[in-house]
C-alpha cells in the first residue's frame, strides 16, 4: 500500500514536471481518439437519423443488431482490422498495420454502432410531432431532420462523449493493430499495460491519472456546452 502511495506521488511529479514522454503519449492518445470520434460522428449521426426517419423492412432487426455491437470486444475488432490490414490481407498493400491510422480505423469500427444506436435513441426521445410541425411549416425532409437533431442535441452530445470515452480507454485494439511502438503508436492505455508489466508502476499510475483527468475534462466541457 505504501508502495502504491509512493508511486502515486511520483506520478504526480511526472505530470507536474510535464515529463516529455508522458506528454507525448498523452498528445498522441488524444489525437487518435479525437480523430476517430470526429470521423465516426460525421458518418454515424446522419446515418442514425437516416435510419430513424425512414421506414423500411427489417428496421427493428437492424437496430437490434446495432445494439448488440455496443459490447463488441475490442480484441475482436482488433483481430478483424489486423486481418484486413496485414500484408496478406485485402488492404495489406496500403501498409497501414502498426500505424496510428490502423488504430483510428479500428476505433471507428468499434464506436460506430454506439454512435448510430445512441443517435437513434436520442431522436426517439424527442416528440414525434417536431418533425411533423417542421414539415407543416415548409421544411424539407432534410431540414426537418436537422431540426430534430438540434432538438435532441444533448442526447447526441452524450453519445459523442460515450464514444470518446470508449475510444480513449480501449487497449486491446490499440495493442493489436498499433503495436505499442514507442514514439509512433504508443498510447496511454498501451503504455500503462506495458509499463506495469515491466514493473514501472509510477509511469503507469501517472498515465492512469492523466487518462482519468482527460475524461473529467471532456465531461466538464460537455456540461459547459449544454448549459449554453
Amino acid at each position: 500500500m505504501v508502495e502504491l502511495w509512493h508511486a502515486f506521488i511520483k506520478a504526480l511529479e511526472l505530470i507536474a514536471s510535464l515529463d516529455s514522454e508522458v506528454m507525448e503519449i498523452t498528445r498522441r492518445s488524444l489525437a487518435i481518439s479525437v480523430t476517430s470520434c470526429s470521423i465516426t460522428s460525421l458518418i454515424c449521426v446522419p446515418l442514425g437519423s437516416l435510419i430513424h426517419f425512414n421506414r423500411f423492412p427489417g428496421k427493428s432487426v437492424l437496430i437490434n443488431v446495432i445494439q448488440t455491437f455496443y459490447s463488441f470486444p475490442t480484441v475482436v475488432v482488433g483481430l478483424f482490422v489486423f486481418v484486413l490490414l496485414s500484408r496478406t490481407g485485402p488492404l495489406g498493400e496500403l501498409g497501414l498495420l502498426f500505424t496510428p491510422v490502423a488504430i483510428v480505423v479500428g476505433q471507428v469500427l468499434l464506436i460506430m454502432p454506439i454512435m448510430i444506436g445512441l443517435t437513434i435513441s436520442a431522436l426517439s426521445g424527442i416528440d414525434g410531432s417536431v418533425v411533423e410541425t417542421a414539415m407543416s411549416l415548409g421544411a424539407s425532409r432534410t431540414q426537418a431532420s436537422i431540426l430534430a437533431l438540434k432538438e435532441a442535441r444533448f442526447a447526441v452530445l452524450t453519445a459523442v462523449i460515450m464514444c470518446f470515452g470508449r475510444a480513449i480507454s480501449e487497449v486491446g485494439l490499440s495493442i493489436m493493430v498499433g503495436g505499442n511502438i514507442k514514439g509512433f503508436t504508443r498510447t496511454l492505455t498501451t503504455a500503462i499495460s506495458l509499463e506495469s508489466s515491466k514493473g514501472d508502476i509510477e509511469l503507469s499510475l501517472a498515465l492512469g491519472v492523466i487518462l482519468l483527468t482527460l475524461a473529467l475534462m471532456v465531461n466538464l466541457l460537455i456540461g459547459w456546452l449544454q448549459r449554453r
Binding site: 416528440d127 410531432s129 417536431v130 411533423e132 410541425t133 417542421a134 414539415m135 407543416s136 411549416l137 415548409g138 421544411a139 424539407s140 431540414q143 431540426l147 438540434k150 432538438e151
Partner: protein
C-alpha cells in the same frame, strides 16, 4: 385553388377517409366539423401535403400535386398548417417564428423584418425574447399561429386551434383569425368540433362523418337544412320526428307523426317516409290559442324546463315531444312552468324534411 378528387386514406387496412371531393377557392373559410375520429385531421394532413393519399388526386391551381416529391414540397411551402398540439422548438419565440422563412431560404434581413411584423400582428412582441419552451399553452398556440402566418401562406390550415385552450386564449386566437379573414381575405381550412366557432368564422362548412364528407354548404344550409338525420343530430337539432307524407297539395304537404299531423313545405311525395326536423328556436309558445300565420299549433303540457344562461329550454308533450327555447323573461311573463298547458306553434316552412 385547391381541389381534391376522390381522396382516400387507409391506415393498415382501415379506411380513414374515402372519396372526398372538395374544392377550396381563394378567400374561402371552410370549417370541417364532425365527431372525434371522423377523419378531420387526416383530411387536413392530406390537403397540406404532409401525407400522401392512398387514393384519389389533389390539384393545386390546376396542377396535380399528388405524386411528385419536389412539387409537393414546393406547394407545401405556399401553405401553412397549425397542428392541434402546439409544439415549439428550442430557442426564443423570435427564433421559432423565423424557422419557416429560413427554410424557404429568405435573406436574413427580410426574415428579421417579417418576424417583427408578425410578432406585432399576433400581439406577442412582449415575449419575443423568451425561451419558447417556457410559455403557457395559450401563448404557445399564439406562437404556432404566428409561425404559420409569417410565411404569408396562400392557404392556412388549422386543426382545432382553440380546443386545448382556456376561453380567454381561445377568444384571442379567434379574434386574430376573424381579423385576418376580414382584412386579408385569407383562405382558411380549419377542423373544429366547436360548431359555434364554425358558424362565427366560416362561409362554408363541411360535415365529415366516419371518413366521408356528407354535406358541404353555407352555415345556414348545414344548420337549418341538414342533409341527413345524422348531420341534424350532430349539428344540434333536437326535434327530429319520424313520420310519413300522407297528403300533398302543391308545395304543401301533410305529414303524420304518430297520432298527430302537421303541415310542411316539401318536395317529397305521398307515401314517402321522412324525418321532420324543427329547430327549437323556430317554435313559439303562448298560453292562449291565438291567431297566427303558423299553420301548426299544438296544445301540450310542459314536462321539463332548464335554464341555460338567459334562455329557458322547455320540453312540451303534445302527443309527441317538442323542444323549444324561450328567453327567461318571456317564460316568466307567461308564467310557464312544468305542468302548465301551452300552445306551441311553428310555421310550415320552419320544418325541414329529410327523406328517409
Amino acid at each position: 385553388m385547391l381541389e381534391a378528387r376522390g381522396l382516400g386514406k387507409d391506415y393498415q387496412g382501415r379506411q380513414v377517409l374515402q372519396c372526398i371531393d372538395l374544392q377550396i377557392c381563394e378567400g374561402d373559410v371552410l370549417c370541417l366539423i364532425g365527431p372525434r375520429g371522423a377523419g378531420k385531421t387526416t383530411l387536413l394532413r392530406l390537403l397540406d401535403l404532409l401525407e400522401k393519399p392512398s387514393g384519389g388526386e389533389l390539384y393545386f391551381n390546376g396542377v396535380n400535386v399528388t405524386f411528385s416529391e419536389r412539387l409537393r414540397l414546393q406547394v407545401r411551402r405556399r401553405m401553412s398548417f397549425v397542428l392541434q398540439k402546439p409544439i415549439v422548438f428550442s430557442g426564443s419565440v423570435r427564433d421559432n417564428i423565423a424557422y419557416g422563412l429560413k427554410w424557404r431560404g429568405e435573406a436574413s434581413k427580410l426574415v428579421r423584418k417579417k418576424t417583427e411584423y408578425i410578432l406585432e400582428l399576433v400581439g406577442i412582441a412582449d415575449y419575443a425574447d423568451r425561451e419558447a419552451k417556457t410559455l403557457s399553452g395559450g401563448e404557445m398556440q399564439l406562437v404556432a399561429l404566428a409561425r404559420a402566418l409569417v410565411t404569408e401562406p396562400e392557404v392556412l390550415f388549422l386543426d382545432e386551434p382553440t380546443a386545448n385552450l382556456d376561453p380567454v386564449s381561445g377568444a384571442k386566437i379567434e379574434a386574430i383569425l376573424a381579423r385576418l379573414i376580414e382584412s386579408r381575405k385569407m383562405t382558411i381550412v380549419m377542423a373544429t368540433h366547436d360548431m359555434a366557432q364554425g358558424q362565427r368564422l366560416a362561409n362554408r362548412i363541411g360535415v365529415l362523418m366516419s371518413g366521408r364528407l356528407l354535406q358541404i354548404g353555407s352555415p345556414v344550409e348545414i344548420f337549418c337544412l341538414p342533409a341527413s338525420k345524422e348531420i341534424a343530430e350532430f349539428v344540434g337539432v333536437e326535434n327530429i320526428l319520424s313520420g310519413s307524407v300522407t297528403e300533398k297539395n302543391g308545395g304543401l304537404a301533410t305529414i303524420s307523426v304518430g297520432e298527430v299531423t302537421f303541415e310542411v313545405v316539401t318536395s317529397c311525395n305521398v307515401g314517402d317516409l321522412v324525418w321532420a326536423i324543427i329547430r327549437p328556436e323556430d317554435i313559439t309558445f303562448a298560453r292562449v290559442k291565438e291567431l297566427s300565420s303558423a299553420r301548426n299549433v299544438f296544445q301540450g303540457k310542459i314536462t321539463r324546463m332548464a335554464t341555460v344562461g338567459a334562455l329557458v329550454r322547455v320540453e312540451v308533450d303534445c302527443g309527441f315531444t317538442l323542444l323549444g327555447v324561450l328567453t327567461k323573461k318571456s317564460a316568466d311573463d307567461m308564467g310557464i312552468e312544468p305542468g302548465v298547458d301551452v300552445y306551441a306553434s311553428f310555421k310550415a316552412s320552419a320544418v325541414h324534411i329529410i327523406k328517409r
